[in-house]
Amino acid sequence: MDYSRLDPIRRRASAQELDLVESFAQGRISRRSFMKRATIIGLSLPTITAIVAACSDAPSSPAASGPAVTTAPGASATPAAAGGTIRVATQRPAASLDPVAMQDLGAYGMIAQSFEFLAALDQATGDIGPGLAVSWTPNDDNTVWTFKLRPGVTWQDGSPFTGEDVVESMKRLVVAGNAGLKGVIDEASGKVVDAETVEFTLVSANGNFPYLVSVFNAQSVITPASYATGTTLDAMPNGTGAWKLESYDNASGARFVRNDAWWGGPTPLDAVEYTFFAETGPMVTAYQGGQIDAIVQFDVFSGTALFNDANFTVNEAATTNHRQIWMRVDTGQFVDKRVRQALALSLDREAMVQQLFKGKGQVANDHVIFSLFPYFDEGTPQRTRNVEEAKALLEAAGATGLEAVLHVAELQEIPDLAVLIQSQAAEAGITLTPAVESLDTFYGAQWCPGEPADPPCSGAAELGIVDYGHRSTPDVFLNSALKTNGVWNSSQYGSTDFDAAFAEFQAAVGVEAQTAACAKIQANLNDEVPIAIPYTYSFLSGNAKTFTGVYSSALGQMFVSSASKVG
C-alpha cells in the first residue's frame, strides 16, 4: 500500500470521498465495491485509477467486466471503414415514443438513440459514466447533488442545451410519478446554479441519486424545456444524442441518421435502421437470412442457433432482471408468513435456472439486494428447497391442502415458470392453478388494478408473478414494490422494520453503512417473504461480426454511436 501516492488525493477529497478511500485502503471493501461506489459519488476515472494503482502492487486499469454492460470484443480497436448502416431487430414499442410515459424495452431503445442522460453508460466499465453531465458530487450527507453540465451541447433543432432543460425534464418526471424518482426529488428540487451547473436538493438523503438520473432509469432522458408532457419523439424528433429520427412507423420500424452536430463527434456509421418484431424467433431467422445485423434482446431458446454461430457475437451480461412472486400479506390465504415461507421453500431454484435459462442466470434469495450490488451482504443464508419443512410449516399454519390461482402474464418465460412452480409446489401439498393473460390485461387486472386507488395496488390478486427489469440500484425495487404504500406494492407489504431499514439505506453514507442497512433489509425480506424471488437472469443480445463497437445496457438500449462496419 503506497500511502505516498494516496496522500495527494486524500488531501483534496471531500468527507465522503475520504471515507470511501479509507475503507478501500484498509481493505474493508473490495476493489469492485470501491470502484462502483466511487463512480456513484462522482470521482473521476483518472482519480479512481490512481487510487487503485496506489493500493495494489501492479498498475491496474478499470475492470472491463461490468455487471450490466455487454461489449463487443475489439470495442476500442481502431475505427474501421466509415459509413454504413446497421440494421437492428427489436421488440415493437408498445405505444408511441413518449420519453416520460414509456414502459417497454422497445421504446427505451428508440428513445436512447436521440435523447441522452445526465449519466450515460460507460462502455468500458458497464457502470455509469459522464453523459450530459461531465461530473457530479454529493454533499456530506447525500442530500444535495451538484452536476456539472457538458459544454457545447446543442439540440438537434439548433438551440443550445442548458440547465433549464435538465430542471424541466426532472420536473416533468416527478409530475408523471416516475418510479425511480418518487420520494427522492420533488418539483422544486432542481435548480440552475449557473450556465454549467445544476443542483438537486433531495427530499430525503439518497446515496444512489446519480443512478436515478442515468441510463438505468430509462425515462430520465433529458428533453428540451419546451417539451410539453405527452410529446413523443416520433411527433417531434429532437434530442442531444448521436442519432436523428428520420422516420418511424409503429407497425414496421424506424430509421435514424447521423446527427452531425453531436458533441461526441461524427459517428462512424451513417444510419441505424430498426425493424420491429412481435417475437424473437423471426428476429433470429431474419439474421440468418442476412436481413438483420444485430438483435437487441433474445432468449436462450430462440437464440440457440446464435450461440453456435461463428459469425455472431453473443453478449451475455448478468443483470438484476427478475420475477417477483408476490403474495398478499394483508388478506387471503398468504397472510400467515409461514405459508409464504412454505411456498418459497418448495421452489427448486437451481432447476428453474437450468430449465428456463439453460443455466444463464443466477439463483436469488427472496430479496432484492442482488449479489451484483456493491453493498450486498453475504450474511443471509441462501434459501434452498426443503419440501419437508414446507409441509411442516403449512401444517403449523393450518393451511394443509392450500389451493390458489397463480396469475401470470404472457411474457417470455413466465408461463413456463408458473408451470414449474405448480409442479414443485404440488410436492409440498400446495395446489396452484396457473392463469395466463396478455400483458396489458394482466397489469391492470391482477397486478395493480386502478381501483381501489388508495393504497396503490390494493386490488391486486392474492398470488401472481410480475416481471422487473434490470436496475443498477435496488432503490426502485425497494421503494415501489416493498415500501408501505409503494406504487407497485402488489403484496401490500407494510413493515415498519423494513421501512426503517430502507430509510437507513438511503441515508447511508459510505459503502459500509449501506451494506449494514442492506443486511437488515435482506434479513427482513428473506424472513417475511412478501415476494419470492427465485432467480435473476442474464441479458442476451448480440450482433453480426461484421460490426464492432456495439454495446448495450440490460434495459434494451443498444448503443451504436461508436460502432463501425468491419471491412
Binding site: 414449474l420 405448480q422 396478455s438 390485461t441
Partner: protein, 296 residues
C-alpha cells in the same frame, strides 16, 4: 351437400309401418356402402386410436410433472424427445388427446345443434324472419372466425368453457346456412304439403317431417365441423388465446415450441402438428365417405 333422400324410398312421416321398415333397410344399405370405402376405414382407425389415447391415457411418463433434460432428441427412452422443460413429448401428445376430443366435439355439437335449429326456422318460415336472421348470419360470416374468436377471448379471458362457447357460436351461422338450403329444398316436396294439408303445426312439420330427411347432410356437416373445430382451437391456442398452459393441448404445444425449430429442435413442434394433421385428415376422410355414401 345433397339434401335428396336415399333413392327409391318415399319420404315418410308418421305413416305406414312398411315405410319405416324400408327406411331402415335404406340405412343399412348406406352403412354397407360406407364400410367398403377405404377412406372410411382408415379414418375410423386413426380416430379410434386417438380416442383410445384420450380415454386411457397410457403414457410412458407423467405429462405434467416428469422433468428430464430439456430438448432431448428422440431416443429409445423418449421416443419423441423432450420439450424445452424436459417433459416427454410422446406422453404429452397422448394425454393431450383428451383435451382435443373434449373441446372440439363439444364445440362442434354446440354449433351444429344451434345451427340446425336456426336453419330449420330460417328455411321453413322464410319471409321476414329468414331475411333478418340471414343478415345476422352473413354479418358473422364476413369476419374470419379466428378474428372474432380472438377478440372475444381477449375480452372475456381464455378458459376452456369460453373457447367451446365461442367456437360453437362461430360455427352456428355456417351450419345454419347449410341446413337452411337443405330445408328449402325439402319444403317444396309433396310430403310437406301433405302434412300441411293435414293441419299439422309448423314445429311439428319441422321436427317430425323435415328433420329426419335432412339428417344425412347434418351428420356430414357435424363431422366436417369437428375437423374445423380442432383446427380453430389449435390456431387459437397457437395465438395464445386458447387453452391455457400447462395443458398438453396439441395446438398449445406447437405454439410454445415452434420458434425453437430455428435452433434445430424440430421434434416438440413436429409431433403435435402431426397429431393435429392426422386427426383432421381422418375426420375429413370419414366426412367424405359419409357424403359420398349418402348421396348415392
Amino acid at each position: 351437400m345433397s339434401a335428396t333422400t336415399t333413392a327409391g324410398v318415399p319420404p315418410a312421416g308418421a305413416a305406414a309401418p312398411g315405410q319405416a321398415a324400408e327406411r331402415k333397410q335404406a340405412r343399412r344399405e348406406v352403412l354397407r356402402l360406407l364400410v367398403r370405402r377405404p377412406g372410411f376405414i382408415i379414418g375410423n382407425v386413426v380416430i379410434g386410436f386417438w380416442v383410445f389415447c384420450a380415454i386411457f391415457q397410457l403414457a410412458p411418463y407423467d405429462a405434467f410433472n416428469d422433468f428430464d433434460l430439456g430438448h432431448l432428441p428422440p431416443s429409445p427412452e423418449h421416443l419423441f424427445g423432450t420439450d424445452r422443460l424436459g417433459r416427454d413429448v410422446l406422453s404429452r401428445i397422448i394425454v393431450g388427446a383428451r383435451e382435443v376430443f373434449i373441446v372440439a366435439p363439444l364445440a362442434a355439437i354446440f354449433g351444429v345443434v344451434a345451427g340446425t335449429l336456426l336453419g330449420l326456422i330460417m328455411g321453413f318460415y322464410r319471409g321476414l324472419v329468414d331475411d333478418i336472421i340471414s343478415r345476422i348470419v352473413e354479418a358473422f360470416l364476413s369476419l374470419p372466425v379466428i378474428l372474432v374468436a380472438l377478440l372475444t377471448l381477449v375480452v372475456l379471458g381464455s378458459s376452456t368453457l369460453v373457447v367451446i362457447l365461442v367456437v360453437g357460436i362461430l360455427f352456428t351461422p355456417i351450419v345454419a346456412r347449410t341446413v337452411r338450403s337443405a330445408v328449402l329444398a325439402e319444403r317444396q316436396l309433396d310430403y310437406v304439403t301433405a302434412a300441411r294439408l293435414r293441419g299439422e303445426s309448423g314445429p311439428f312439420i319441422m321436427v317430425r317431417e323435415i328433420f329426419p330427411n335432412i339428417l344425412p347432410p347434418i351428420i356430414v356437416e357435424m363431422t366436417v365441423r369437428f375437423g374445423y373445430a380442432i383446427f380453430t382451437v389449435a390456431t387459437l391456442s397457437f395465438l395464445g388465446v386458447g387453452i391455457q398452459p400447462p395443458s398438453p393441448d396439441w395446438g398449445l404445444q406447437v405454439s410454445e415450441e415452434y420458434s425453437n425449430m430455428i435452433g434445430g429442435v424440430w421434434w416438440p413442434t413436429l409431433f403435435p402438428a402431426l397429431a393435429i394433421a392426422t386427426t383432421v385428415i381422418a375426420i375429413n376422410l370419414i366426412a367424405d365417405a359419409l357424403a359420398a355414401a349418402t348421396s348415392e
